[in-house]
């Protein structure tokens, strides 16, 4: 097995295959890595209920096997969890998670040589609180009655405990302000080729639909990880058919174009009154610092420039904390949406931060989290 190859595969454990998002390959690959001492630990999501899960670091193979399945209403942040721990670890990661991990790698907080990143294709994730409200308003069902969810043919389907299925198209949900988080709508990392191995259901055809995972190997580490799982008898793979490969490429293209369109819709240029706009949005900030704590590209820790020079008593017209962060994230923000997710004052922070990051990153032709390229600030050859 080597970089660039594609396979369709599934878990050899029936139970994992059934529970898995699309064949349980990811879960089995992670479990095999742990079992064969390829890594010391694995990070997976531990479900609390249908809408909440916490990422955990575990060395228990059973815990890994139990984690099978995709949770669309949980935007997890794995990068900060494994930062500064010096672990030999394997973990699943959506495009934005991968970008966060790579950025922490650049900041020497994660050793990427010891990190096996299993990328998950990602069409988008939802905010748990918004999901609950959506269930009541749009689906007219109680969140407690939900038993499972899946996305199929552009529809978000919830299954209730009575066995009934409730489906609404994602377009309709988003028109009403529900559905995917705003940052996911304009995200264009649909197949995480920045990971070691990209896994998803796009490209799985015929009888295998829903029962197999399509994988693309992006690195030597990825090849080793899959080979190990095959050798250990945890997963079975075969070559994908041409139709599947073409289909996957096509959906990827369509989704990326859709993301670009959304970007234009969300970031309509503000000709006048920009300062007022930012001031108004930040008016209710309570200085809790959660947006910084969660930010997967920040690795300053507790003592940082944005907090040390910010005193509420100054009563400045703009928050020094946010000004410094606007600057520091101009080349670093990966648009993961976590800052908006956690803000207790419901400030649409990602939208604000991207206002600064979009032009800077376009100008510098720099996309953080996609590869090991250092921020341009550090790459400029001085005194030439």
């Amino acid at each position: 097995m080597q970089k660039g190859e594609m396979y369709v595969g599934w878990s050899t454990k029936d139970d994992v295959r059934k529970r898995g998002g699309s064949g349980g390959l990811v879960t089995s690959m992670l479990a095999a890595a742990l079992e064969k001492k390829f890594v010391d630990a694995v990070v997976v999501l531990k479900k609390i209920n249908e809408f909440e899960a916490v990422p955990i670091i575990t060395s228990d193979v059973n815990e890994v096997l139990n984690s099978a399945g995709s949770l669309h209403s949980v935007p997890s942040n794995f990068a900060k969890l494994i930062a500064n721990r010096n672990l030999k670890v394997a973990l699943p990661a959506k495009g934005c998670d991968v970008r966060g991990i790579i950025e922490q790698g650049k900041r020497n907080a994660i050793n990427l040589d010891n990190t096996f990143i299993v990328g998950l294709n990602c069409g988008g994730s939802m905010h748990p609180v918004v999901t609950r409200e959506m269930l009541e308003v749009m689906y007219k069902i109680k969140p407690e009655d939900v038993h499972g969810e899946e996305i199929e043919k552009g529809k978000l389907i919830f299954e209730t405990k009575d066995g009934k299925e409730h489906a609404i198209t994602i377009d309709e949900l988003e028109e009403k302000g529900y559905g995917r988080r705003e940052s996911c709508r304009y995200c264009t990392i649909k197949v995480p080729n920045n990971s070691d191995i990209a896994c998803g259901n796009w490209g799985v055809t015929g009888d295998l639909v829903g029962k197999a995972t399509f994988v693309e190997i992006n690195s030597e580490k990825g090849a080793k990880l899959l080979q190990n799982a095959v050798d250990a008898g945890y997963v079975q793979v075969q070559k994908p058919d041409e139709k599947g490969v073409a289909m996957r490429a096509k959906i990827k293209g369509v989704m990326e174009d859709l993301g670009k369109k959304w970007k234009g819709k969300v970031f309509v240029p503000i000709e006048n009154g920009r300062l007022e706009y930012f001031r108004k949005e930040l008016e209710h900030c309570i200085d809790c610092g959660a947006c910084k704590t969660v930010c997967p590209t920040c690795s300053c820790g507790d003592v940082s420039k944005c907090t040390e020079y910010h005193f509420r008593g100054d009563a400045y017209k703009m928050s020094m904390y946010h000004l410094v962060r606007f600057l520091h994230l101009a080349d670093a923000c990966i648009g993961c949406g976590q800052c908006s997710d956690v803000c207790p004052a419901d400030i649409p922070l990602t939208r604000l931060y991207r206002r600064f990051a979009n032009p800077v990153q376009e100008q510098l032709k720099y996309e953080p989290g996609m590869d090991m390229q250092k921020p341009p600030y550090f790459e400029v050859k001085l005194n030439e």
């Binding site: 006048n272 920009r274 017209k317 020094m320 410094v324 032009p359 800077v360």
Partner: protein, 153 residues
């Protein structure tokens, strides 16, 4: 027409109002330039507060934000000409940092005249004086900075 001439022909937004301009100058070049401007008796407005730093590379974007938040109507980042920095490449770093800073300040909706970068050597007294005069005229036209705290002149 120079900016000064423009200012002379168009009525200022705030007649009689003197803007507050914070100019960061490096010890070895632009501060010397300011000095020569004085010694050469080049006339310049009383709008400027000079803050001397050892090298323009020491000017942290945070200093610039702070000046604006405390009420500066314009902030000037100045240093030695590229290649002349006393610490080899301090001003190369300034140049890169400034690019980021400029982007953020523009995107915030602050007019471009309010943040400017200029390289001035110790012997360029006249250049320093002209620069200050031009900026003062530009800012007089724009009026007080929107970031100025309430109650600060």
């Amino acid at each position: 027409m120079s900016a000064e001439a423009v200012a002379a022909t168009t009525p200022a937004k705030t007649d009689g109002w003197e803007p507050k301009i914070v100019a960061f100058c490096c010890n070895w070049c632009s501060y010397g330039g300011a000095d020569s401007a004085g010694m050469g008796r080049f006339q310049q407005p009383a709008s400027t507060r000079i803050i001397r730093v050892m090298c323009s590379g020491r000017i942290d974007p945070l200093h610039v934000f702070n000046a604006f938040l405390e009420g500066a109507d314009a902030v000037l980042v100045t240093g030695c000409h590229i290649g002349d920095c006393h610490y080899v490449n301090g001003n190369d770093k300034t140049k890169i940092k400034y690019k980021y800073l400029e982007n953020v300040v523009r995107e915030l909706g602050i007019e471009k005249e309010r943040l400017q970068l200029n390289w001035i050597s110790a012997s360029e007294g006249e250049r320093f004086a002209n620069f200050i005069r031009d900026v003062t005229a530009q800012i007089k036209k724009l009026g007080p900075s929107p970031l100025k705290p309430e109650g600060v002149a």
